[in-house]
């Protein structure tokens, strides 16, 4: 059985590698330049079942374990980080439905998760790092809830059809509801013009007195922040994986270039200054991989993983930006050119110092855990 799981995981990883090499990597530069996925690309992702990776078998999914899926996201990010983040947003949201959702909600919604994208929306103009500042309201009306508010900067906003929404009840308790784009009163707002991860749509949803059935509540009233934090923890593991992929890409570019390019008669890789940069990138890549894999192992074995997941994203995001800068310096003038992907890898990595909790907030979380241990 264990052997079978290993074989299946290695088949999954080979499939994702092939898909990435054939379908995503060749479009990486184009996706960045156009600021969107080319027509039909996302449909290919759906048609090849990539939305089903974490989804349990009983809902029509493949039911791979979180560590195997994190590795798949890592492999995809080597070719294109935007699509890897699109999947990250979907998978972290599914985890919350699985953990906190009513059975009726799961039966109704998870069975569509193989071809519909799910997203998690907390942020508002009045509340980013500090979600207590949100203004979205959920007002009880019989068995239903009436939700009104405006959510911004949602990963897959506009692409996703199902949204987990953090809202405040009349007595100021926090709760998460599942809202469907087909519900009356739902509309999409503006898409962010972000500097990196330019394929991933990040956008706004507007909810005008949307009537949501009672069983669309995740967990209990008052559990909203806990669910939001849990979503962050699950996301951070996968972001660690994305960042590992970005660093692997940076490393490949630096290594290849250092073999081709000569300083007079010496290939670049023979120069100590270049070796130092290559080794730093390799070490940071390896560290981030170990961190996200360890966090995933803790999660699948039922241990607490929030701390290590935060480390994976906090360390990984800063490292990937710094490593991008080092790789750029290896290529020097060419690295500074838009003709090479390094500058966009730095912009891509930079998003993850902000999304799913800023690195500053994570420093706080990590430090307090150390102090209180």
């Amino acid at each position: 059985m264990e052997n079978q799981e290993k074989m299946a995981a290695s088949m999954l990883h080979r499939m994702v590698r092939e898909f990435t090499e054939n379908e995503l990597a060749p479009l990486d530069m184009e996706i960045d330049a156009q600021g969107d996925y080319p027509q039909g690309l996302f449909q290919k992702v759906i048609d090849n079942g990539l939305l089903t990776m974490t989804l349990p078998r009983e809902y029509g999914g493949a039911g791979f374990s979180y560590d195997s899926v994190a590795k798949a996201i890592h492999l995809m990010a080597i070719g294109n980080a935007s699509m890897a983040v699109t999947l990250e947003g979907h998978f972290k949201t599914l985890e919350q439905l699985l953990k906190y959702g009513d059975q009726r909600l799961k039966d109704e919604y998870l069975t569509s998760a193989a071809h519909r994208i799910f997203a998690f929306s907390q942020t508002e103009s009045s509340g980013g790092s500090n979600p207590r500042g949100i203004a979205t309201r959920a007002v009880k009306s019989g068995d239903d809830w009436i939700i009104t508010g405006d959510k911004i900067m949602i990963t897959n906003g506009g692409l996703a059809q199902v949204y987990c929404v953090l809202a405040k009840t009349e007595d100021d308790q926090m709760a998460v509801f599942v809202v469907d784009q087909d519900m009356p009163g739902f509309s999409f707002g503006k898409r962010e013009d972000f500097i990196g991860l330019r394929g991933t749509p990040v956008g706004e949803i507007v909810m005008d007195h949307i009537k949501v059935p009672g069983y669309h509540l995740l967990g209990q009233i008052g559990q909203g922040l806990e669910i939001g934090n849990n979503a962050h923890d699950d996301a951070r593991i996968l972001m660690g994986a994305v960042l590992t992929g970005i660093m692997e890409h940076e490393l490949q570019i630096a290594v290849d270039y250092s073999k081709q390019r000569k300083a007079l008669d010496t290939p670049l890789y023979e120069l100590q200054t270049i070796q130092e940069k290559i080794s730093e990138i390799a070490i940071a890549r390896q560290n981030t991989e170990l961190l996200y894999q360890h966090a995933a192992q803790l999660k699948i074995t039922g241990q607490s993983y929030a701390q290590v997941a935060a480390m994976a994203k906090s360390y990984g995001s800063r490292a990937a930006v710094r490593c991008g800068d080092m790789a750029l310096q290896v290529l020097a003038g060419y690295g500074y050119s838009r003709e090479y992907p390094i500058e966009h890898l730095i912009r891509d990595a930079r998003a993850m110092e902000i999304a799913e909790g800023t690195v500053e907030r994570m420093s706080g979380e990590i430090a307090l855990k150390q102090v209180n241990q």
Partner: protein, 258 residues
């Protein structure tokens, strides 16, 4: 439609090593993958099944390690697989490969279509398909770049040859060897990867087949490899032989002897 797809596992890298003593391929410790053309054959079988319904059965002859390629084929969407595996089959040449494969196809029974790759990328002979067709005594289409059903029993095929294409029509059951131009093989999907472990892979030995034991394995192989080398490519003139087959054979023999 009952379709059998014959697949061979080949070493992943292009750098196939030959043992200088035995002139055989060194097959230890190399990762095996499905012969690329056989993936086109699986893809075509799955498309035909999508269109006409039926069953896609994978068939391979080789050691235990071939299981992983059969599993890959199942993860593309095939229904079940059979591995012909036993020491007795070892060291077979193309004839001693085609013979047990054709006996296995007879045992499966009721097969409408047998699909194979145009050739393997390691041994490269392209002989197994025609041999299987002859043993089954059914029509064959080699080098198929396009396939279409005219009706339930008739298959139209376009053959892509060196500098020419040829259109043929065959009545089922038939054997078809496919080219990579035919289609683009699908990816395995995450769900199909998981279900591939629930699909059966039966292992058949020589005892499970109705076989003449002197015609299998190394002992049953009339050819042995003497030397492997790249042939010189020389342009020659094409000669049209007489229409009368008896005369044509005589003409051909005369030319080969010269």
């Amino acid at each position: 439609m009952k379709i059998v797809v014959c697949i061979k596992q080949v070493p992943k890298s292009d750098s196939v090593k030959i043992d200088p003593k035995t002139n055989n391929m060194v097959r230890d410790n190399v990762e095996g993958v499905i012969n690329p053309f056989d993936k086109n054959a699986i893809e075509e079988a799955l498309r035909i099944k999508d269109q006409l319904g039926g069953e896609v059965i994978l068939l391979s002859m080789g050691p235990d390690g071939y299981m992983s390629s059969l599993r890959d084929g199942l993860a593309m969407g095939a229904d079940r697989a059979i591995l012909l595996s036993s020491r007795a089959f070892g060291g077979a040449d193309t004839l001693a490969t085609g013979y047990p494969i054709s006996q296995a196809i007879k045992k499966i029974g009721g097969v409408d279509l047998v699909l194979l790759g145009r050739q393997s990328v390691d041994a490269d002979t392209g002989q197994v398909g025609p041999i299987v067709a002859e043993y089954l005594n059914v029509p064959q289409v080699t080098f198929a770049e396009e396939l279409r059903f005219v009706d339930e029993h008739t298959l139209y095929g376009q053959r892509l040859l060196d500098g020419a294409t040829q259109s043929v029509q065959v009545t089922l059951p038939a054997v078809v060897m496919v080219r990579s131009e035919l289609n683009t093989p699908r990816y395995e999907t995450p769900v199909n990867i998981q279900t591939s472990f629930e699909k059966p892979i039966d292992v058949w030995t020589e005892h499970d087949l109705d076989l003449d034991a002197t015609r299998i394995g190394q002992a049953g192989s009339p050819t042995t490899v003497q030397k492997v080398y790249a042939p010189k490519r020389e342009g020659r003139q094409t000669v049209q032989l007489s229409d009368d087959s008896a005369t044509a054979v005589k003409e051909l023999l005369a030319r080969i002897r010269n």
